[in-house]
Symmetry: D2
Subunit: 365 residues, 4 copies
Amino acid sequence: MAPSTNKLNVGILGATGTVGQRFILLLAEHPNFTIHTLGASSSSTGKTYKEAVLGRWKQSRAVPAHVADQEMKECVAKNFAQCDVVFSGLDSGPASTVEPEFRSANLRVFSNARNYRMDPLCPLVVPLVNTSHLDLIPHQRASLSPQLNQGFIVCNANCSTTGIMPPLKALMDAFGPLDKVLVSTLQAISGAGYPGLSAFDVHDNVVPYIGSEEEKIESESKKILGSINGPKTAFDEAQCTISAACNRVPVLDGHMECVSLSFQRRPPPSVEDVKRALHDFRCEAQELGCHSAPAQAITVHEEVDRPQPRLDRDHQNGSGVNVGRVRPCPVLDIKFVVLSNNVMIGAATSSVMNAEVALAKGYLS
Amino acid sequence: MAPSTNKLNVGILGATGTVGQRFILLLAEHPNFTIHTLGASSSSTGKTYKEAVLGRWKQSRAVPAHVADQEMKECVAKNFAQCDVVFSGLDSGPASTVEPEFRSANLRVFSNARNYRMDPLCPLVVPLVNTSHLDLIPHQRASLSPQLNQGFIVCNANCSTTGIMPPLKALMDAFGPLDKVLVSTLQAISGAGYPGLSAFDVHDNVVPYIGSEEEKIESESKKILGSINGPKTAFDEAQCTISAACNRVPVLDGHMECVSLSFQRRPPPSVEDVKRALHDFRCEAQELGCHSAPAQAITVHEEVDRPQPRLDRDHQNGSGVNVGRVRPCPVLDIKFVVLSNNVMIGAATSSVMNAEVALAKGYLS
Amino acid sequence: MAPSTNKLNVGILGATGTVGQRFILLLAEHPNFTIHTLGASSSSTGKTYKEAVLGRWKQSRAVPAHVADQEMKECVAKNFAQCDVVFSGLDSGPASTVEPEFRSANLRVFSNARNYRMDPLCPLVVPLVNTSHLDLIPHQRASLSPQLNQGFIVCNANCSTTGIMPPLKALMDAFGPLDKVLVSTLQAISGAGYPGLSAFDVHDNVVPYIGSEEEKIESESKKILGSINGPKTAFDEAQCTISAACNRVPVLDGHMECVSLSFQRRPPPSVEDVKRALHDFRCEAQELGCHSAPAQAITVHEEVDRPQPRLDRDHQNGSGVNVGRVRPCPVLDIKFVVLSNNVMIGAATSSVMNAEVALAKGYLS
Amino acid sequence: MAPSTNKLNVGILGATGTVGQRFILLLAEHPNFTIHTLGASSSSTGKTYKEAVLGRWKQSRAVPAHVADQEMKECVAKNFAQCDVVFSGLDSGPASTVEPEFRSANLRVFSNARNYRMDPLCPLVVPLVNTSHLDLIPHQRASLSPQLNQGFIVCNANCSTTGIMPPLKALMDAFGPLDKVLVSTLQAISGAGYPGLSAFDVHDNVVPYIGSEEEKIESESKKILGSINGPKTAFDEAQCTISAACNRVPVLDGHMECVSLSFQRRPPPSVEDVKRALHDFRCEAQELGCHSAPAQAITVHEEVDRPQPRLDRDHQNGSGVNVGRVRPCPVLDIKFVVLSNNVMIGAATSSVMNAEVALAKGYLS
């Protein structure tokens, strides 16, 4: 690698996988980060990246030229010693040992895996929503034995959780606590990774079940929408009740979610109030001018049949979320649909934006 | 047509359309009914049925031989004077004039169109649920001017309404009034008729909007789940609150619906109680031994990922409904999924089963 | 199992797989055969069939009741000693050892695997085409060491080969040798088995490559369309030249194949002659009255846009093939499309029909 | 519109349709052209573009801001008097009267409609292949009555024809005349326009017929691959024989075509020679540095299963074509697959690139 004086070196774990490939594309020309080390399973070690993804590169853009010939390394901390930041696209299996080992070696890990999401020391951050939770990093470092001066694990959320967080947060900020939230999802096949689902199972079909997905939405949401305590040593969960029903549909990318919710406030806000609050919502990543932050965190669609996955998933390169069909709910207060790009803001873009905010807030120095 | 001594003559309006084609297949070898007269738009008049559906027959079974050469008639009542029963697969446009004209001519019309569903004189019948509403037929006849001695219009419900009615009815019967019902649908493309949706719109996509569909579910359900008054002159709506969110998904046949609901009864029934009530539910069409009645009105699936449209839509030839994933709902009481075959029990099979019940109850003599 | 006095006992190898499940359905109520022994991999041994296919049964019909509780056996010959016939749905890996072991134990094996298709002792039989090749069975038995008095292996062809064989054979019978055949395929995802293809690979996509498929078509066809020599000891290949281009398309079942061909005969037959020859073609399975033989071996469609996979794959329960768009080819002589059901005549139905013919011809006694 | 000193004013006919929307996106920030006048059917006249495409804009990118508020004009020549170039995305119905009227008014029309493709005065130009045919423009102007000093019609080819032209031309240039070409297509649904195909027809299906498509490939190819005579007054057709079989598959964008061909030259070139000739092929649009010309006219893929529509259709923004699986053909000489983006190089990009070449060659002054 050519030296890059002003950029931070980054490592990518699971670089050949679905999320890893997105990391490659997002980081190939990033103003703050330079791809330095690529890690993958032992079957890829020693190959060039191009060789390692042969027949597995599933992006419509080509492998970036300067990454193609980089040599793949085993996912052990000493290979990543020169990395200022490590992005992990590992599955939960390898993540369970690799990520804590990396943290112990004083590496900063931004993880897509589920393992540490509900850990009381680890921020679970949707970058459009709760980057304030990064302030628990010092406590995480101090609580480990031995204490760390640099290393940490910050998680991003499950893709279907991520999509609904920005509108829920926007409404809490504007109108106070939510009471109840009911969400039904129509999730894309790319959410299952690669090879993921058998074509035989999802072709001309809906699968009304995704393992642990409903539980993830119901638990992760409360942590993300909650706050951190005064001394920045603990997460206080939000108190709303959440119920999820998750379905897989034959769509490539883009999770659609039907949300109905009620507020604690009586009377509840009007449809117009809700739309305005969603549209006006801004997040810290925007205020800090982060590279990957969308111009508009929540795009509110007025057309009666939008957003739609195929037409709207690439809006703002998938870095924001789309809301449409805001209308009264006869059972709760308000209902609407949310579309988010599960492979971008729902995965790789979340990690990268989290790191950008962490950088801006001084947690990477 | 060969004379059929014991069978009733039936006419089919809109015989070349999507629903009409299903009527043809259901009635071609029916023990109670004989296809006598086929009606279609003026462009088909005078053609044989085979000619009229050339390039438009979209069934995997062939046109029944004895129907293929029948001549298509204009949809005017005098052409159907010999019909004991008329099944209408007309769109709401032509239905608005044709169906009342037929009724005025003392014909019994079983309609799939939306026009008379909410009419205070017309039973809106899901055959697995509320065939008792047929008892309003005498009042309908008596209320028209001039009074009729034979003619009537009986409607079946919108396909997405139909699917969820049997489980809701089963639970009301077992546990008393429902309080709130929230339903999100994942509806098949065949529900839009032919040509219906552009492939361009639904390919690799979800459309989170179906015109008037949510309103139909919210209004029709209350009529169907309601009762008729003592003198059998009016419908009393059920009092529960219903909220629907409707989506089109790229699936050929089979509407999936995610239901969450609460009971008025406290404490609510357990998951096991709910499953048993659903499984044990029986309807009048079954008790009367109607030809099209399913052996099992509601099939309760225990596998964690069933029912699925492609695998379960043809169970019992689509005449019952499928329920799965019965589990507690953190927001309301219980949640589950329902799969129904929108072109069978959701359309043609409903009309035919309604007529079978009407026959058994003496309304066709 | 209850004894079945007049039926032959059959075993099924690979009974839980895609082809195996079709065997179960085809044989559950067969007039000549009774399912006796079910074999599967060691992970299923000892389970009931119902337990073994839990979450893997992908048929729209339920597991037949009398099969559901049968115990799964290991695929070793002694477990199948009471079977008069063994149908193998094994993949080529296990087939390579299991099938010859079964034959050595004097069992009659009808195989779907590719291993023995080109073996000079094994008939490669498309039941609508070359059941005369079964007459090599005595030579197969005599050529093995030690010689067998009952055992044999008979193969059916690859699914994409199978589809085009009946029309090619019909044209050879009517008009003499073919000169050149060019075929491009559009193959269904079920052809890849289960789990087979990743949904990610074939969704909204065409994959213009199927490993070894083109070679199979080019080699198997010549054996199938060839003859056996006078003493019934060898296969003489047909002399035509065949070129195949194979593609996977997002269709569940049904292989479409575009065929262009030329005859040695000059001038070539007319389009009408070709249609008539295809329509009039009859095979030995039909003449012998075999249970699974279709009424019409080749259905010639006159509609300009038929056959189509979704509409025509289930015609005659997938036991025949469909031809359409017969027209002149500017480059060769004639072109047309063929649609065959790859999981029925392209797999399980072929084996069963081969066994029916073998039974009728005395090779199972 | 603000005046644009150095750019040519362009008009777009059929601006709200599928091809028209692509013109808008391609021309919104074009270095040579400025969108000046937008024409559409009378139902859109007087609306802004944004209003006119409400509910019909099917692009993942938004309507360009400076186009959104432009007023739609009726498609009559006087409304386009200030346009230096007119791009027509009209269907053949309106094109039959509008396009010649525009030419008579001395407007330069680049048409996507089929009407004038085989006209002996009109160049039929695939911009990667035969821009030399533009040299017939003076003869076209001189042959009309009254003679024109500026107006002309230049057509681009049918989308399925366009895809295979660059490789065929590259091979003719390198190895002399082709003898026979056999092509089977797997065409995307966007090729049918909007609303185009019913979802019901193409879902989980292949339609082995596209009206007139095979005839278009067989006739247009010979004109495109042919030459113009010495005095530049006539087209001489190429002499090869072409046979096409066209299929619609459930893919959004991207036509895949399986090609087998033979050369007149004996012995034919090797596979390696063919690959090199395809890779090295360059066209006039590249030599002239046209804005829309791809860096690589023909991208030759070495991976065994590429190109694929979903992964490769957006390569170079769809402005080149992709070839893969170059291998010997047992029947003819060589076979390979071609993937082209039917809505880009297969439609709008062709017109725009044709105009860029015409500009560079002085035909727009």
